[in-house]
Protein backbone atom coordinates (compact mmCIF):
# COMPACT_ATOMS: atom_id res chain seq x y z
CA UNK A 1 0.00 0.00 0.00
CA UNK A 2 1.32 3.40 -0.96
CA UNK A 3 1.73 5.90 1.88
CA UNK A 4 0.97 9.48 0.91
CA UNK A 5 2.44 12.39 2.81
CA UNK A 6 2.95 16.11 2.47
CA UNK A 7 6.00 15.96 4.74
CA UNK A 8 9.31 15.49 2.89
CA UNK A 9 11.07 14.31 6.06
CA UNK A 10 8.46 11.62 6.64
CA UNK A 11 8.81 10.58 3.00
CA UNK A 12 12.50 9.73 3.35
CA UNK A 13 12.42 8.35 6.89
CA UNK A 14 14.44 5.20 7.51
CA UNK A 15 16.95 5.34 4.67
CA UNK A 16 19.99 3.55 6.05
CA UNK A 17 23.67 4.43 5.92
CA UNK A 18 25.35 2.47 3.13
CA UNK A 19 22.17 2.22 1.06
CA UNK A 20 22.17 2.12 -2.72
CA UNK A 21 19.92 4.98 -3.81
CA UNK A 22 18.58 5.26 -7.35
CA UNK A 23 17.96 8.91 -8.17
CA UNK A 24 15.75 9.78 -11.13
CA UNK A 25 16.21 12.61 -13.56
CA UNK A 26 18.10 13.47 -16.70
CA UNK A 27 19.79 16.69 -15.79
CA UNK A 28 17.14 18.55 -13.76
CA UNK A 29 14.13 17.10 -15.65
CA UNK A 30 12.57 14.50 -13.37
CA UNK A 31 15.07 15.16 -10.59
CA UNK A 32 13.36 14.67 -7.17
CA UNK A 33 14.85 17.79 -5.65
CA UNK A 34 12.60 17.99 -2.58
CA UNK A 35 13.25 14.36 -1.66
CA UNK A 36 16.99 14.84 -2.03
CA UNK A 37 16.91 17.91 0.19
CA UNK A 38 15.03 15.84 2.77
CA UNK A 39 17.58 13.04 2.43
CA UNK A 40 20.33 15.54 3.21
CA UNK A 41 18.48 16.54 6.40
CA UNK A 42 17.77 12.88 7.19
CA UNK A 43 21.49 12.28 7.34
CA UNK A 44 22.06 8.87 5.73
CA UNK A 45 25.64 8.63 4.61
CA UNK A 46 28.11 6.30 2.86
CA UNK A 47 25.57 6.06 0.04
CA UNK A 48 25.98 4.59 -3.41
CA UNK A 49 23.99 6.76 -5.79
CA UNK A 50 22.85 5.55 -9.20
CA UNK A 51 21.77 8.37 -11.48
CA UNK A 52 22.35 9.39 -15.07
CA UNK A 53 24.35 12.46 -14.12
CA UNK A 54 26.38 13.39 -11.09
CA UNK A 55 24.57 16.55 -10.11
CA UNK A 56 24.00 19.93 -11.69
CA UNK A 57 24.81 23.27 -10.10
CA UNK A 58 24.53 23.34 -6.32
CA UNK A 59 21.08 21.87 -5.67
CA UNK A 60 19.53 18.42 -5.72
CA UNK A 61 22.01 15.62 -6.22
CA UNK A 62 24.89 18.11 -6.29
CA UNK A 63 23.96 19.25 -2.78
CA UNK A 64 23.89 15.64 -1.55
CA UNK A 65 27.36 15.16 -2.98
CA UNK A 66 28.56 18.43 -1.48
CA UNK A 67 27.30 17.27 1.92
CA UNK A 68 29.75 14.36 1.70
CA UNK A 69 27.10 11.66 1.90
CA UNK A 70 27.99 9.74 -1.23
CA UNK A 71 30.74 7.14 -1.30
CA UNK A 72 30.22 6.05 -4.89
CA UNK A 73 28.44 7.30 -8.02
CA UNK A 74 27.22 4.90 -10.70
CA UNK A 75 26.26 7.02 -13.70
CA UNK A 76 26.64 7.46 -17.42
CA UNK A 77 27.58 11.11 -17.69
CA UNK A 78 29.17 12.74 -14.64
CA UNK A 79 31.07 15.44 -16.54
CA UNK A 80 28.83 18.37 -17.40
CA UNK A 81 29.28 22.09 -17.73
CA UNK A 82 27.71 22.59 -14.30
CA UNK A 83 28.94 19.49 -12.44
CA UNK A 84 31.59 21.32 -10.42
CA UNK A 85 30.68 19.66 -7.12
CA UNK A 86 31.24 16.16 -8.45
CA UNK A 87 34.28 17.22 -10.45
CA UNK A 88 35.93 18.59 -7.33
CA UNK A 89 35.24 15.52 -5.21
CA UNK A 90 36.44 13.23 -7.97
CA UNK A 91 39.68 15.07 -8.56
CA UNK A 92 40.34 15.08 -4.82
CA UNK A 93 39.79 11.30 -4.78
CA UNK A 94 36.90 11.65 -2.34
CA UNK A 95 34.34 9.78 -4.44
CA UNK A 96 34.35 6.52 -6.36
CA UNK A 97 32.97 6.48 -9.90
CA UNK A 98 31.56 3.68 -12.05
CA UNK A 99 30.74 4.86 -15.55
CA UNK A 100 28.06 2.79 -17.32
CA UNK A 101 26.77 3.38 -20.85
CA UNK A 102 23.37 5.02 -20.49
CA UNK A 103 21.38 2.23 -22.12
CA UNK A 104 23.12 -0.44 -20.07
CA UNK A 105 22.40 1.61 -16.96
CA UNK A 106 18.68 1.70 -17.79
CA UNK A 107 18.55 -1.94 -18.86
CA UNK A 108 20.45 -3.16 -15.80
CA UNK A 109 17.86 -1.49 -13.59
CA UNK A 110 15.06 -2.90 -15.72
CA UNK A 111 16.60 -6.36 -15.26
CA UNK A 112 16.62 -5.85 -11.49
CA UNK A 113 12.95 -4.94 -11.57
CA UNK A 114 12.00 -7.69 -14.01
CA UNK A 115 13.74 -10.59 -12.25
CA UNK A 116 16.28 -11.10 -15.04
CA UNK A 117 19.53 -12.58 -13.69
CA UNK A 118 21.80 -11.09 -16.34
CA UNK A 119 21.66 -10.22 -20.04
CA UNK A 120 23.93 -10.03 -23.02
CA UNK A 121 24.23 -6.48 -24.34
CA UNK A 122 25.99 -5.40 -27.53
CA UNK A 123 26.72 -1.97 -26.05
CA UNK A 124 30.30 -1.32 -25.06
CA UNK A 125 31.81 -4.41 -26.69
CA UNK A 126 35.50 -3.85 -27.33
CA UNK A 127 35.69 -0.75 -25.14
CA UNK A 128 37.27 0.11 -21.79
CA UNK A 129 33.86 -0.11 -20.13
CA UNK A 130 33.53 -3.80 -21.03
CA UNK A 131 36.96 -4.80 -19.76
CA UNK A 132 36.81 -7.86 -17.55
CA UNK A 133 33.22 -8.62 -18.49
CA UNK A 134 32.13 -11.98 -19.85
CA UNK A 135 31.91 -11.85 -23.63
CA UNK A 136 29.96 -14.08 -25.98
CA UNK A 137 29.19 -14.29 -29.68
CA UNK A 138 25.53 -15.03 -30.36
CA UNK A 139 24.26 -15.41 -33.89
CA UNK A 140 27.40 -13.74 -35.23
CA UNK A 141 27.25 -10.67 -33.01
CA UNK A 142 29.41 -9.89 -29.97
CA UNK A 143 27.88 -9.18 -26.57
CA UNK A 144 29.00 -8.58 -23.00
CA UNK A 145 27.16 -9.92 -19.98
CA UNK A 146 25.59 -7.25 -17.82
CA UNK A 147 24.16 -7.76 -14.33
CA UNK A 148 21.18 -6.09 -12.65
CA UNK A 149 21.53 -2.91 -10.59
CA UNK A 150 19.13 -3.09 -7.69
CA UNK A 151 18.40 -0.20 -5.35
CA UNK A 152 17.57 -0.24 -1.68
CA UNK A 153 15.76 3.00 -2.33
CA UNK A 154 14.59 4.88 -5.42
CA UNK A 155 13.89 8.60 -5.27
CA UNK A 156 12.00 9.71 -8.35
CA UNK A 157 10.08 12.70 -9.60
CA UNK A 158 6.73 12.18 -11.31
CA UNK A 159 3.95 14.51 -12.41
CA UNK A 160 0.75 13.23 -10.78
CA UNK A 161 -0.03 10.34 -8.47
CA UNK A 162 -3.43 9.00 -7.50
CA UNK A 163 -4.53 7.98 -3.99
CA UNK A 164 -3.58 4.38 -4.74
CA UNK A 165 -0.05 5.23 -5.88
CA UNK A 166 -0.32 5.05 -9.68
CA UNK A 167 1.97 7.57 -11.37
CA UNK A 168 2.10 9.53 -14.59
CA UNK A 169 5.02 11.63 -15.76
CA UNK A 170 5.35 14.71 -17.92
CA UNK A 171 7.21 14.86 -21.26
CA UNK A 172 10.92 13.97 -21.14
CA UNK A 173 10.91 14.22 -17.34
CA UNK A 174 9.70 10.61 -17.48
CA UNK A 175 13.22 9.31 -18.28
CA UNK A 176 14.58 7.02 -15.54
CA UNK A 177 11.68 7.26 -13.08
CA UNK A 178 9.57 4.32 -14.30
CA UNK A 179 12.59 2.01 -14.52
CA UNK A 180 13.99 2.95 -11.11
CA UNK A 181 10.56 2.50 -9.51
CA UNK A 182 10.68 -1.17 -10.47
CA UNK A 183 14.27 -1.73 -9.35
CA UNK A 184 14.24 -0.62 -5.70
CA UNK A 185 13.02 -2.21 -2.51
CA UNK A 186 11.60 1.13 -1.35
CA UNK A 187 10.37 3.53 -4.03
CA UNK A 188 9.58 7.09 -3.04
CA UNK A 189 8.08 9.48 -5.59
CA UNK A 190 7.56 13.20 -5.37
CA UNK A 191 4.60 14.40 -7.42
CA UNK A 192 3.23 17.84 -8.08
CA UNK A 193 -0.21 16.78 -6.89
CA UNK A 194 -2.12 13.71 -5.73
CA UNK A 195 -5.47 13.15 -7.46
CA UNK A 196 -8.49 11.04 -6.58
CA UNK A 197 -8.89 7.45 -7.72
CA UNK A 198 -10.29 7.43 -11.24
CA UNK A 199 -8.72 10.73 -12.31
CA UNK A 200 -5.80 9.07 -14.07
CA UNK A 201 -6.52 7.33 -17.37
CA UNK A 202 -5.81 3.60 -16.78
CA UNK A 203 -4.42 3.40 -20.33
CA UNK A 204 -1.90 6.13 -19.56
CA UNK A 205 -0.64 5.09 -16.12
CA UNK A 206 3.11 4.62 -16.57
CA UNK A 207 4.05 3.34 -13.11
CA UNK A 208 1.37 1.16 -11.50
CA UNK A 209 0.99 1.52 -7.73
CA UNK A 210 2.64 -1.84 -7.02
CA UNK A 211 5.99 -0.13 -7.60
CA UNK A 212 5.36 2.87 -5.38
CA UNK A 213 5.80 2.69 -1.61
CA UNK A 214 5.57 6.35 -0.66
CA UNK A 215 4.42 9.51 -2.37
CA UNK A 216 5.41 13.00 -1.37
CA UNK A 217 2.60 15.33 -2.46
CA UNK A 218 4.39 18.58 -3.24
CA UNK A 219 1.14 20.57 -3.34
CA UNK A 220 0.42 19.48 0.25
CA UNK A 221 4.03 20.15 1.22
CA UNK A 222 3.78 23.70 -0.08
CA UNK A 223 0.40 24.30 1.52
CA UNK A 224 1.78 23.36 4.94
CA UNK A 225 5.10 25.18 4.69
Amino acid sequence: MTAITGDPDEAVAGIADGATVLVGGFGMAGMPVTLIEALIRQGATDLTVVSNNAGNGDTGLAALLAAGRVRKMICSFPRQSDSWVFDGLYREGRIELEVVPQGNLAERMRAAGAGIGAFFSPTGVGTLLAEGKERRTIDGREYVLEYPIKGDVALIGAYLGDRRGNLVYRKTARNFGPVMATAATLTIAEVRRVVELGELDPEAVVTPSIYVDRILDLSAAEASS
Binding site: F26, G27, M28, A29, G30, N52, S76, F77, P78, R79, Q80, F86, D87, Y90, R91, L97, V99, V100, P101, Q102, G103, N104, A106, E107, M109, R110, S121, P122, T123, G124, V125, G126, T127, L128, L129, E142, Y159, Y169, R170, K171, T172, A173, R174, N175, F176, G177, P178, V179, V206
Partner: protein
Protein backbone atom coordinates in the same frame (compact mmCIF):
# COMPACT_ATOMS: atom_id res chain seq x y z
CA UNK B 1 24.92 26.54 -50.09
CA UNK B 2 24.18 22.87 -50.56
CA UNK B 3 25.66 20.31 -52.89
CA UNK B 4 23.57 18.03 -55.07
CA UNK B 5 23.55 14.34 -54.17
CA UNK B 6 26.61 12.95 -56.00
CA UNK B 7 25.90 10.63 -58.89
CA UNK B 8 26.08 6.95 -57.95
CA UNK B 9 29.43 5.29 -58.52
CA UNK B 10 31.40 8.47 -59.06
CA UNK B 11 33.58 10.41 -56.65
CA UNK B 12 33.05 14.15 -57.00
CA UNK B 13 35.77 16.70 -56.22
CA UNK B 14 34.33 20.13 -55.44
CA UNK B 15 37.24 22.41 -56.27
CA UNK B 16 37.50 26.18 -56.57
CA UNK B 17 36.38 26.57 -52.96
CA UNK B 18 37.71 25.96 -49.47
CA UNK B 19 36.78 23.25 -46.99
CA UNK B 20 33.22 23.17 -45.68
CA UNK B 21 32.18 25.52 -42.91
CA UNK B 22 30.28 24.04 -39.97
CA UNK B 23 26.92 24.99 -41.44
CA UNK B 24 27.82 23.61 -44.83
CA UNK B 25 28.91 20.35 -43.24
CA UNK B 26 25.60 20.07 -41.39
CA UNK B 27 23.79 20.74 -44.68
CA UNK B 28 25.64 17.91 -46.42
CA UNK B 29 24.73 15.49 -43.64
CA UNK B 30 21.10 16.63 -43.81
CA UNK B 31 21.12 16.12 -47.58
CA UNK B 32 22.07 12.46 -47.13
CA UNK B 33 19.43 11.57 -44.55
CA UNK B 34 16.76 9.64 -46.44
CA UNK B 35 13.21 10.96 -46.45
CA UNK B 36 10.99 9.72 -43.60
CA UNK B 37 13.95 8.34 -41.63
CA UNK B 38 14.02 7.93 -37.89
CA UNK B 39 17.12 9.80 -36.79
CA UNK B 40 19.05 10.51 -33.61
CA UNK B 41 21.29 13.56 -33.65
CA UNK B 42 24.07 13.48 -31.06
CA UNK B 43 24.90 16.27 -28.66
CA UNK B 44 26.80 19.29 -30.01
CA UNK B 45 27.46 19.81 -33.70
CA UNK B 46 25.22 16.93 -34.89
CA UNK B 47 22.24 18.72 -33.32
CA UNK B 48 22.63 21.48 -35.91
CA UNK B 49 21.81 19.04 -38.72
CA UNK B 50 18.14 19.47 -37.78
CA UNK B 51 18.28 23.09 -38.97
CA UNK B 52 19.09 21.87 -42.48
CA UNK B 53 16.38 19.26 -42.86
CA UNK B 54 13.68 20.32 -45.31
CA UNK B 55 10.33 21.03 -43.70
CA UNK B 56 8.79 18.26 -45.80
CA UNK B 57 11.63 15.75 -45.23
CA UNK B 58 9.42 13.56 -43.08
CA UNK B 59 12.42 12.89 -40.84
CA UNK B 60 11.38 11.99 -37.29
CA UNK B 61 13.86 12.82 -34.56
CA UNK B 62 14.55 10.56 -31.60
CA UNK B 63 16.10 11.84 -28.42
CA UNK B 64 17.64 9.32 -26.03
CA UNK B 65 15.91 10.87 -23.04
CA UNK B 66 12.62 9.43 -24.19
CA UNK B 67 10.91 11.11 -27.12
CA UNK B 68 10.19 10.35 -30.73
CA UNK B 69 9.06 13.21 -32.97
CA UNK B 70 11.08 15.87 -31.16
CA UNK B 71 10.60 19.44 -32.34
CA UNK B 72 13.07 22.32 -32.71
CA UNK B 73 14.69 24.14 -29.82
CA UNK B 74 12.22 26.10 -27.70
CA UNK B 75 12.12 29.86 -27.99
CA UNK B 76 12.34 31.81 -24.73
CA UNK B 77 8.61 31.79 -24.06
CA UNK B 78 8.24 28.10 -24.94
CA UNK B 79 10.83 26.79 -22.48
CA UNK B 80 9.50 23.90 -20.40
CA UNK B 81 11.99 22.35 -17.97
CA UNK B 82 10.28 18.97 -18.45
CA UNK B 83 11.02 18.95 -22.18
CA UNK B 84 14.64 18.86 -23.28
CA UNK B 85 16.85 17.07 -25.75
CA UNK B 86 19.80 14.84 -24.87
CA UNK B 87 21.96 17.93 -24.49
CA UNK B 88 19.49 19.23 -21.88
CA UNK B 89 18.48 22.06 -24.19
CA UNK B 90 14.76 22.93 -24.07
CA UNK B 91 12.90 21.69 -27.16
CA UNK B 92 9.30 21.61 -28.37
CA UNK B 93 6.60 19.02 -28.93
CA UNK B 94 5.02 19.00 -32.39
CA UNK B 95 1.84 16.97 -33.06
CA UNK B 96 2.52 13.24 -33.41
CA UNK B 97 5.20 12.98 -30.74
CA UNK B 98 5.48 10.08 -28.30
CA UNK B 99 7.20 9.84 -24.91
CA UNK B 100 8.70 6.71 -23.32
CA UNK B 101 11.02 5.87 -20.46
CA UNK B 102 14.75 5.32 -20.65
CA UNK B 103 14.72 1.54 -20.90
CA UNK B 104 12.26 1.75 -23.80
CA UNK B 105 14.25 4.55 -25.42
CA UNK B 106 17.48 2.58 -25.38
CA UNK B 107 15.69 -0.62 -26.42
CA UNK B 108 14.66 1.36 -29.50
CA UNK B 109 18.30 2.25 -30.14
CA UNK B 110 19.93 -1.06 -29.22
CA UNK B 111 17.31 -2.97 -31.20
CA UNK B 112 18.44 -1.31 -34.41
CA UNK B 113 15.21 0.54 -35.14
CA UNK B 114 16.73 3.95 -35.87
CA UNK B 115 17.71 4.52 -39.48
CA UNK B 116 20.47 7.02 -38.92
CA UNK B 117 22.41 8.37 -36.02
CA UNK B 118 24.78 11.31 -36.37
CA UNK B 119 27.68 11.63 -33.94
CA UNK B 120 30.79 13.70 -33.43
CA UNK B 121 34.18 11.99 -33.00
CA UNK B 122 37.77 12.35 -31.88
CA UNK B 123 38.84 9.63 -34.31
CA UNK B 124 37.37 7.17 -36.79
CA UNK B 125 39.32 4.19 -38.12
CA UNK B 126 39.29 2.96 -41.69
CA UNK B 127 37.15 -0.01 -40.55
CA UNK B 128 34.63 2.32 -38.95
CA UNK B 129 35.77 2.02 -35.33
CA UNK B 130 34.65 5.09 -33.42
CA UNK B 131 36.37 7.02 -30.62
CA UNK B 132 34.27 9.87 -29.32
CA UNK B 133 33.79 9.58 -25.57
CA UNK B 134 37.10 9.88 -23.78
CA UNK B 135 40.41 11.49 -24.55
CA UNK B 136 42.17 9.02 -22.29
CA UNK B 137 43.93 11.93 -20.60
CA UNK B 138 44.80 10.93 -17.03
CA UNK B 139 43.01 13.90 -15.50
CA UNK B 140 39.87 13.64 -17.66
CA UNK B 141 36.67 12.60 -15.91
CA UNK B 142 35.25 9.76 -18.01
CA UNK B 143 31.67 10.32 -19.17
CA UNK B 144 30.05 8.19 -21.84
CA UNK B 145 26.34 9.06 -21.77
CA UNK B 146 24.53 7.37 -24.62
CA UNK B 147 27.51 7.39 -27.00
CA UNK B 148 28.20 3.64 -26.91
CA UNK B 149 24.52 2.81 -27.27
CA UNK B 150 24.19 5.15 -30.23
CA UNK B 151 27.34 3.79 -31.85
CA UNK B 152 25.81 0.31 -32.08
CA UNK B 153 22.20 1.40 -32.24
CA UNK B 154 21.34 2.63 -35.70
CA UNK B 155 21.27 1.03 -39.12
CA UNK B 156 23.67 3.77 -40.30
CA UNK B 157 26.02 5.73 -38.11
CA UNK B 158 27.19 8.99 -39.65
CA UNK B 159 30.08 10.81 -38.03
CA UNK B 160 30.71 14.51 -38.55
CA UNK B 161 34.04 16.09 -37.57
CA UNK B 162 36.97 18.05 -38.93
CA UNK B 163 39.31 15.76 -40.84
CA UNK B 164 42.37 17.09 -39.07
CA UNK B 165 42.94 17.97 -35.43
CA UNK B 166 44.22 21.41 -34.42
CA UNK B 167 47.77 20.05 -34.46
CA UNK B 168 47.28 18.89 -38.05
CA UNK B 169 47.13 15.18 -37.29
CA UNK B 170 44.44 13.25 -39.18
CA UNK B 171 41.39 12.05 -37.25
CA UNK B 172 40.65 9.38 -39.88
CA UNK B 173 43.20 6.74 -38.90
CA UNK B 174 44.29 3.12 -39.33
CA UNK B 175 43.69 2.36 -35.67
CA UNK B 176 42.15 4.67 -33.12
CA UNK B 177 44.56 5.72 -30.39
CA UNK B 178 41.79 7.22 -28.23
CA UNK B 179 39.63 4.80 -26.19
CA UNK B 180 36.98 3.24 -28.41
CA UNK B 181 33.25 3.93 -28.30
CA UNK B 182 32.30 1.12 -30.66
CA UNK B 183 33.83 -1.34 -33.09
CA UNK B 184 33.22 -1.15 -36.85
CA UNK B 185 30.07 0.91 -36.37
CA UNK B 186 30.54 4.01 -38.53
CA UNK B 187 29.31 3.81 -42.13
CA UNK B 188 29.82 7.37 -43.38
CA UNK B 189 32.26 10.02 -42.26
CA UNK B 190 31.41 13.66 -42.97
CA UNK B 191 34.34 16.07 -42.65
CA UNK B 192 35.13 19.60 -43.71
CA UNK B 193 37.51 18.23 -46.38
CA UNK B 194 35.66 15.20 -47.67
CA UNK B 195 32.86 12.72 -47.28
CA UNK B 196 34.05 9.12 -46.89
CA UNK B 197 32.51 5.69 -46.68
CA UNK B 198 34.31 3.56 -44.09
CA UNK B 199 33.89 -0.06 -43.13
CA UNK B 200 34.96 -3.55 -44.12
CA UNK B 201 35.93 -2.27 -47.58
CA UNK B 202 38.20 0.40 -46.10
CA UNK B 203 37.99 4.09 -46.90
CA UNK B 204 36.28 5.39 -50.03
CA UNK B 205 36.02 9.09 -50.85
CA UNK B 206 32.54 10.12 -52.01
CA UNK B 207 33.06 13.86 -52.27
CA UNK B 208 35.88 16.27 -51.55
CA UNK B 209 35.55 19.97 -50.75
CA UNK B 210 38.27 22.37 -51.87
CA UNK B 211 40.82 19.60 -52.31
CA UNK B 212 41.35 16.44 -54.34
CA UNK B 213 41.30 12.80 -53.30
CA UNK B 214 44.98 12.55 -54.16
CA UNK B 215 45.88 15.56 -52.04
CA UNK B 216 43.95 14.11 -49.10
CA UNK B 217 45.39 10.64 -49.54
CA UNK B 218 48.86 12.13 -49.30
CA UNK B 219 47.99 13.65 -45.91
CA UNK B 220 46.34 10.51 -44.47
CA UNK B 221 47.87 7.29 -43.25
CA UNK B 222 45.02 5.18 -44.72
CA UNK B 223 44.40 3.98 -48.24
CA UNK B 224 41.65 6.07 -49.85
CA UNK B 225 39.70 4.56 -52.75
CA UNK B 226 37.43 6.33 -55.18
CA UNK B 227 33.89 5.22 -55.97
CA UNK B 228 34.89 4.87 -59.60
CA UNK B 229 37.75 2.57 -58.63
CA UNK B 230 40.53 4.76 -60.03
Amino acid sequence: MTFPIPPAGRTVEHLGRGPLGRDELAAVVARDIPRDSFVNLGIGQPTTVADHLAADSGVILHTENGMLGMGPAASADEVDPDLTNAGKIPVTEPPGAAYFHHADSFAMMRGGHLDVCVLGAYQVSERGDLANWHTGAPDAIPAVGGAMDLAIGAKDVFVMMTLFARDGSPKLVRECTYPLTGLACVSRLYTDQALFQVGPGGVTAVETYGTTVDELAARLDVTVSRLDGR
